[in-house]
Subunit: 334 residues, 2 copies
């Protein structure tokens, strides 16, 4: 009798040791998203995730369709005073200028080297793309990755004096984990360069290279001087993953409509619209940078991360607006 | 004492029940790849997979870098007497012809409707693309998926009289499973249309939509008549995932060099070269259709799946050539 009891006790151990994440924990708010203050944003996230993950709920969505898309700049990591990829490109151009006498007559490069960043940005997307192409094109994909890694190892954010890979938002890291624990597949859908983001996103966010959608230059297949295959970046745009380009990039790369999308600027408008509008269940959220004390406060007048249309339409669209000031206990992991 | 023995016995049960794929089983060939005959091809596959999966082996590769790429037509499923996507397009054009009087003057469509397939194929890639565009463009991505599903539900292969989704190679299904059991991430890298393959690949191969790279038409973001977001296929090529386009597609989509690639035609040459040549460990394999009795026998003279360059260079390239006749116990699951 005693032995039989012992057997069942051990059997219980086996079962509990082998089972995955216990389903019953889902409603204990305090153990989830710890850097989020209790309130509408956190409740809305958890309510949605619990509904679509519960096989007995009418809103249930199978695991394979639980696709979540996150913008990167200003959503997962900071983007002020300038997109970090642009800071990388500027540092690269400054360093390489002595080896490129032909750059002397380039007005844009001269503005850059003179620190006239506002003038450069006033040229809009065209100027940004020109800087990207000057600093990225002609390299093999491996050389490019190496140059990003070299930069990341030494460069620091001008305000916080921390490596750029530390400038990620702690509440968003927790949100990525929370979604993955509930069997979502998480993608980055960035206006930034896909190869730039891939360099560090696996280590920083745990997101593999093939779950990153972004802007890109064309690449061509070639052989290096040793006769080994390489891919070379050309000075030609392949794809711009911004605005109405985001749903396009999502379709071409992921092939499924997301059910959960988060952005922070008007460049994310169509991605959120695509996720939330129409038949089906979708969740759309905007991060509002309203915390001048702990980060930056900006929206309508900012050259980087401009947000007007999204805020105006958020209520009618039933999008969740996250106030960094009110909804987040901490901003950065440091 | 007896109870102590019993406790350790149960403890052993717990450990074995909770551990993942037991490492020690790797060398028992009979339990792996059961539809593969013992021989060079099977040994080469298993030897490679075991080396890169063994943390104590000098050739060990971390899980996140175990990227495997498979061509689809002629590699994972059959491609004769015609790429199945072309049969879909032909059936669609035949069905829709009465509603499109403007097609009457199109020479290519007339050849198709008259069953002059060889004439059509003699037009090469240009003609194939024209057929694809006629049958695919103008649809929303959802309408396209629906039309493929409708076709798959009724169409049968002309020789085997089976649904096309049953025309997959049993040994390759086992290879996909074997790689996944060893923590490879498996991608399809197809010359065929990515949206066509996505329609059925998750169900048939267990490969999710975002692990499929393929050719594509451009899509644009738009609103339907109800004001809901849609993506519309345009009559413009976005990307041709064939030949030197395969390493390009792999880079843009996956962002990592594969360590394991399988193809069956000269359109796969550069993908295999990219995988195997140069520094690093790579495994490249060609499926040779040499089994006229059970499937088809073709290589150098075939309009579909032509294989000349690959066979010629295989030995020098250290690529494995799979003989369907000698290496495979069965061809199809039925």
């Amino acid at each position: 009798m005693k032995q039989k009891f012992f057997f069942y006790w051990i059997l219980g151990l086996i079962i509990s040791a082998c089972s995955n994440a216990p389903e019953t924990d889902h409603i204990e708010n305090t153990s989830f998203l710890p850097s989020w203050n209790e309130g509408h944003s956190k409740s809305a996230i958890m309510d949605f995730v619990q509904r679509v993950s519960d096989p007995n709920h009418p809103d249930f969505i199978p695991k394979s369709d639980r696709i979540a898309c996150f913008d990167n700049d200003g959503t997962l990591w900071a983007e002020q005073p300038l997109y970090f990829q642009l800071i990388f490109a500027l540092d690269y151009i400054k360093k390489e200028a002595p080896n490129h006498p032909e750059w002397k007559d380039n007005e844009l490069i001269n503005q850059l080297l003179n620190g006239e960043t506002e003038k450069v940005l006033s040229g809009g997307e065209k100027s940004i793309l020109e800087i990207i192409m000057i600093s990225h094109a002609g390299k093999t994909t491996e050389e490019f990755t190496q140059s990003v890694n070299d930069w990341l190892a030494h460069a620091n954010h001008p305000k916080y004096n921390k490596p750029f890979t530390k400038m990620v938002y702690q509440p968003m890291l927790e949100l990525l984990d929370y979604l993955r624990e509930n069997d979502f597949t998480v993608f980055i859908v960035s206006g930034g360069g896909v190869d730039f983001v891939r360099t560090w996103a696996e280590e920083v966010y745990g997101i593999p290279s093939y779950q990153i959608v972004g802007s890109s230059l064309k690449v061509v297949y070639d052989m290096d001087s040793n006769g080994n295959p390489v891919l070379k970046k050309e000075a030609n745009i392949n794809f711009i993953d911004d605005g109405a380009g985001k749903p396009v990039g999502i379709h071409q790369h992921i092939g499924k409509k997301p059910i959960f999308s988060v952005g922070n600027s008007d460049g994310d408008y169509q991605m959120l619209e695509y996720t939330k509008k129409g038949p089906g269940k979708g969740f759309a959220m905007l991060i509002h940078h309203d915390d001048a004390a702990r980060e930056y406060a900006y929206d309508s007048t900012s050259a980087i991360g401009k947000l007007v249309q999204g805020l105006k339409a958020a209520e009618g669209n039933q999008w969740v607006i996250v106030s960094m000031q009110n909804d987040w206990k901490t901003i950065f992991p440091f």
